[in-house]
C-alpha cells in the first residue's frame, strides 16, 4: 500500500469538477438527497400501508397491506433497484422519461416503506385497545380517531425503530452505485481506480458515512426528546435488519 497521500484530493479528476475533494462533497450530496427523498417516499407509503393493516372490518385492505409488506421485504434491494431502473420504464412507457435518480428514490422508498409499515403496525397494535374505543366513544370517525388519538401515540412509540430505519436508508442508498448514481460508493470505486489511491478514497468515504450516521442518530434523539409526552413510557418495538 505504501505511504498515505492525502494530496490526491487536491488533484484534478479532469471533468466538470475541479478537484477530487469537491467531487467527494458532491457524491455525499447525492447520497444525502437519495436518502432524504427515499425517506419521504417511505414515510408516506409506509404510514398509509401501516394504517391500512390495522383498520377494523376491512379484510381486503388488510390483505393488500400484508401483501405489500411481504412483496417488498422478500426481494433483495439490489434486485428491486434493477427492476425499477431497467424493467419498470420498459413496462410502463409513461415512466420511461424519468431520470435515474427518481427511479432509485422509488426503489429505495418502496423497499423501506414495507419496513416502516411493519413498524407502524406493531406500534399501533402496541397501544391499549381502550385508546381506539375512547376515540369511538367520543364520536370520532375512523380517520379522526386515527389522526387525533392513535397515530400521535403510535409515531412516538416507533421513534427508536424509525431512527435505525433512517440510518438504514442512508446505508442502503449505497446500493444505488449499481445503476450509476454518482453517490459515495460510485465515487470511491471510480476515484480509486483513476488515482490508484484506493485506500485514501475508501477512508474518506467511510469516515463520511460514520459521521453522517452519528448526525442522524443525534437528530433523531433530539426529535424523540422534543415530542416526548410527559409520563408516557415508550416501549421499544424492536428493529433489526441492516
Amino acid at each position: 500500500m505504501g505511504k498515505w497521500d492525502w494530496q490526491v484530493f487536491l488533484e484534478d479528476p479532469g471533468g466538470k469538477i475541479p478537484t477530487y475533494w469537491q467531487w467527494l462533497v458532491s457524491a455525499w450530496g447525492w447520497t444525502v438527497s437519495v436518502s432524504l427523498c427515499s425517506l419521504v417516499v417511505a414515510l408516506v407509503l409506509g404510514s398509509l400501508v401501516g394504517v391500512i393493516r390495522t383498520l377494523p372490518d376491512s379484510p381486503w385492505l388488510v390483505r393488500f397491506g400484508n401483501a405489500w409488506v411481504e412483496l417488498f421485504r422478500n426481494v433483495p434491494l439490489l434486485v428491486q433497484i434493477f427492476l425499477w431502473y431497467h424493467v419498470v420504464p420498459k413496462m410502463f412507457p409513461v415512466m420511461s422519461g424519468l431520470p435515474p435518480f427518481i427511479l432509485v428514490v422509488f426503489a429505495l422508498g418502496f423497499f423501506t416503506s414495507a419496513r416502516i409499515a411493519e413498524q407502524l403496525r406493531s406500534g399501533i397494535q402496541a397501544l391499549p385497545k381502550g385508546q381506539r374505543y375512547a376515540g369511538m366513544a367520543v364520536g370520532f370517525t375512523t380517520p379522526q380517531y386515527y389522526r387525533y388519538v392513535i397515530l400521535p401515540m403510535a409515531y412516538r412509540i416507533i421513534i427508536p425503530p424509525l431512527t435505525s430505519e433512517s440510518m438504514n436508508i442512508f446505508k442502503n442508498s449505497s446500493v444505488a452505485f449499481a445503476v450509476s448514481i454518482p453517490e459515495m460508493i460510485q465515487f470511491a470505486m471510480q476515484a480509486g481506480e483513476e488515482t490508484s489511491r484506493v485506500t485514501e478514497m475508501y477512508m474518506a468515504v467511510t469516515v463520511l458515512y460514520v459521521i453522517s450516521a452519528m448526525v442522524i442518530n443525534r437528530i433523531m434523539a433530539w426529535v424523540e426528546k422534543r415530542v416526548r409526552v410527559p409520563g408516557f413510557v415508550v416501549a421499544g418495538t424492536g428493529g433489526g435488519g441492516h
Binding site: L71, N74, L78, V79, M91, S174, I185, V205, M214, H242
Partner: protein, 221 residues
C-alpha cells in the same frame, strides 16, 4: 413490453443459475454459522463487565453497523490480499467479509438473548459450583439461543438477500447468474423479473417457516 421467457430453459438453469445459487446458499450458511460464533464471542466480551474486553468489541460492532455493507465488501476485497500477501478471488473475499460483517449484527442479537435470561439463572449456576464457562455453555447460552432463534433466522433471511451485494466485486452469486444469463440472451428485463420471483419465493417460504417455528416455540414456553 413483450415478455419473452422462451430463453429460460433447463440448460440456462444448469449452466448459469445453479452455480450462483450454490454460492449464495454456501455464503449464507457459512456467514450465519461463523457470524453466530464470532457474534456470541463479541456479545460475551461486551457483557463481561471488563472494560478492556467491552470497549474493543463495542467499537468493532458499532463501527461495522454504521458502514454500508457494500463499503465493507469493497474494503475487505482491498485489504485481505494485502494482509495475507497474495491475491484472492472475490468469492473467498466475500466469505470473509460476510462472516466479519454479520458477526456484528449477530452479536447484538445474542447480547439481547443473553440479557433476556433472568439473573437468577446465573446465580443458580454459580450456586451449584459451575465455572463461568460451564455456566455459559450449559445454562445461559442454550436458553439464549432458544429465545433468539426466530430473530437469528430472520437475520439469516436478510443475510441471504444481502449476498446479492457481492455484485460490487463481481463474485458469481445467484443474482449474478440471472444478470449474466439475461445479458447473454439479450433478455435482461426478463432475467431481472425472474430473479425477483425466485428470491421472493425462497425468502417468503423461509420467513413462513420461521413464523411457524416461532409459534411452536412460543407454545412450549
Amino acid at each position: 413490453m413483450n415478455l419473452d421467457l422462451t430463453f429460460f430453459n433447463w440448460a440456462v438453469v444448469s449452466s448459469f443459475l445453479l452455480k450462483g445459487l450454490y454460492f449464495s446458499v454456501f455464503l449464507t450458511v457459512v456467514a450465519t454459522l461463523g457470524g453466530i460464533f464470532f457474534g456470541t464471542l463479541l456479545a460475551l466480551m461486551r457483557l463481561s463487565g471488563k472494560k478492556w474486553l467491552d470497549m474493543p468489541a463495542a467499537i468493532y460492532v458499532n463501527g461495522m453497523r454504521s458502514i454500508p455493507l457494500v463499503m465493507v465488501i469493497l474494503w475487505f476485497f482491498l485489504l485481505v490480499p494485502n494482509i495475507i500477501g497474495r491475491p484472492i478471488g472475490p468469492e473467498y473475499s466475500a466469505v470473509i467479509t460476510f462472516v466479519a460483517f454479520e458477526a456484528a449484527y449477530f452479536s447484538e442479537i445474542m447480547r439481547a438473548g443473553i440479557q433476556s435470561i433472568p439473573r437468577g439463572q446465573v446465580f443458580a449456576g454459580q450456586a451449584v459450583g459451575m465455572t463461568y464457562g460451564q455456566n455459559m455453555k450449559l445454562v445461559i447460552l442454550p436458553q439464549a439461543f432458544r429465545n433468539m432463534l426466530p430473530v437469528l433466522l430472520t437475520q439469516t433471511i436478510i443475510l441471504f438477500q444481502d449476498t446479492s451485494l457481492v455484485y460490487a466485486i463481481g463474485a458469481y452469486d445467484l443474482f449474478k447468474g440471472f444478470d449474466t444469463a439475461g445479458k447473454n440472451f439479450g433478455r435482461p428485463e426478463e432475467a431481472y423479473l425472474l430473479a425477483a420471483v425466485v428470491y421472493f419465493v425462497l425468502c417468503y417460504s423461509l420467513s413462513w417457516l420461521v413464523k411457524r417455528l416461532h409459534k411452536k416455540i412460543a407454545i412450549i414456553r
